[in-house]
Point group: D2
Chain length 139, copies 4
């Protein structure tokens, strides 16, 4: 499991005073970027030089408790499915102060050649990284 922590920022709450829910997806993406820090040059090089992106094709999420300004989020990232050209990432969000579960996100991405905008085989280093975080059925 890969863990990413992040403070809720002053401007990320909405007029109801709660973290605006699209930010959960942005936090998830940040967690994925941080996770890809294990690749040479990280996600930035993957996108800008290697020209392989990971656009979302499907998302499912549940929200059970809000986050507010001053809270910190703990995001736990795992891989639930690993295909030839796609993978599904799972994120669990907890409030860091008390460990309360706030949200879950299931995020399916497809390896995409950013110049052709067509799917492409997963690069081997990304495959190895994903395999290391793959949750086994017995897990």
């Amino acid at each position: 499991m890969f863990v990413y922590e992040r403070t809720v920022r002053f401007h990320e709450v909405d007029a109801a005073g709660l973290l605006f829910f699209p930010w959960f997806f942005s936090y998830a993406h940040e967690a994925m970027e941080a996770w890809c820090g294990a690749l040479d040059g990280g996600y930035a090089r993957l996108i800008l030089q290697r020209r392989v992106g990971l656009p979302a094709v499907a998302l499912a999420s549940e929200f059970v408790a809000p986050l507010r300004y001053g809270d910190a989020a703990r995001v736990e990232l795992g891989v639930s499915r690993l295909g030839n050209r796609s993978l599904t990432l799972e994120y669990g969000f907890r409030r860091r102060s008390d460990g309360e579960s706030c949200a879950t996100i299931s995020h399916t991405v497809v390896c995409t050649d950013l110049d052709a905008l067509a799917s492409t085989d997963m690069p081997s280093d990304l495959r190895e990284l994903a395999a290391q975080h793959l949750r086994t059925s017995s897990g």
Copy 2:
């Protein structure tokens, strides 16, 4: 069906040059805000004076085609389920120039007393609005 249109802004694309996917949820929320314009004082009064919010409890989405800077999104909003305290909104995203389908979002919200942060019965004006946009099984 309620329709909301929106141009992709200069700053809403990501380093891959595509609309960053959390913005689809932000656009959906904007569509819901615009839809609530039919209520007296709109969504702003609902939140700030009436102190009733509609936080998301579940989301499911699929993304089939990207949007880029210069594109405009056409968001089609409908209601697929209407409960006592919750409702499910469905959004279809199309690229306005050619009508191509880009994404769908299913968005379940719960009427929430923002002071108590507890669920509350749906206000009658919101219920009537939702009932007008409820898709019947034969539809």
Copy 3:
């Protein structure tokens, strides 16, 4: 004078309940994008096909009254200086409901070849557009 109007969105306020000030600059940029709608293909074609950008090199702003969720901003755009490769845009922000002045921004941009990332002469259509909105000293 070019006028751009914009509703403050649910997610654009901060934890103090006021429009987060960097959004004023984003609104100004939107106003500039809308103003460039008079160019063939607009700002999107300028950036993506013609590969000329207008990055900011200097900004000065004053904030005198806040905007809140539910307010609409009226942004009035003019040009105060027009050089060979740069121009200065002036923006006045008013609350639409009562016309109260909220903020002013002075925004100097340099025409930039986005491939070379070096300054370049202003395209003639942009120059003509800017000249039309140039405030004369007697104005």
Copy 4:
């Protein structure tokens, strides 16, 4: 001098591939929030419990070099002026990899009672913090 470091995120660049300039102000605000971490309960408690905010009344900035996705910003914060109810913060932005100067921001804020939305005397702990970072004329 207080230093805050921050990676440019995937979604913070614009359609020209550069950090969208309003984010510089957001980074500056994050730096100020981090700097206020020295106060008991930090900026979040200042806003949410103590109900004192620091809205901007004036900003001046210059931009000399862009930041891109994959870059990290180093933000150096100091105080150039300390009044009874206001202070001016200065931020210098550098690209962390090579130390190149990217931008400067001068940011004047007024201590504001968030319930009355009127200026108020600066809390003593904030004054002490600001005094510690005040640049002397000989510095």
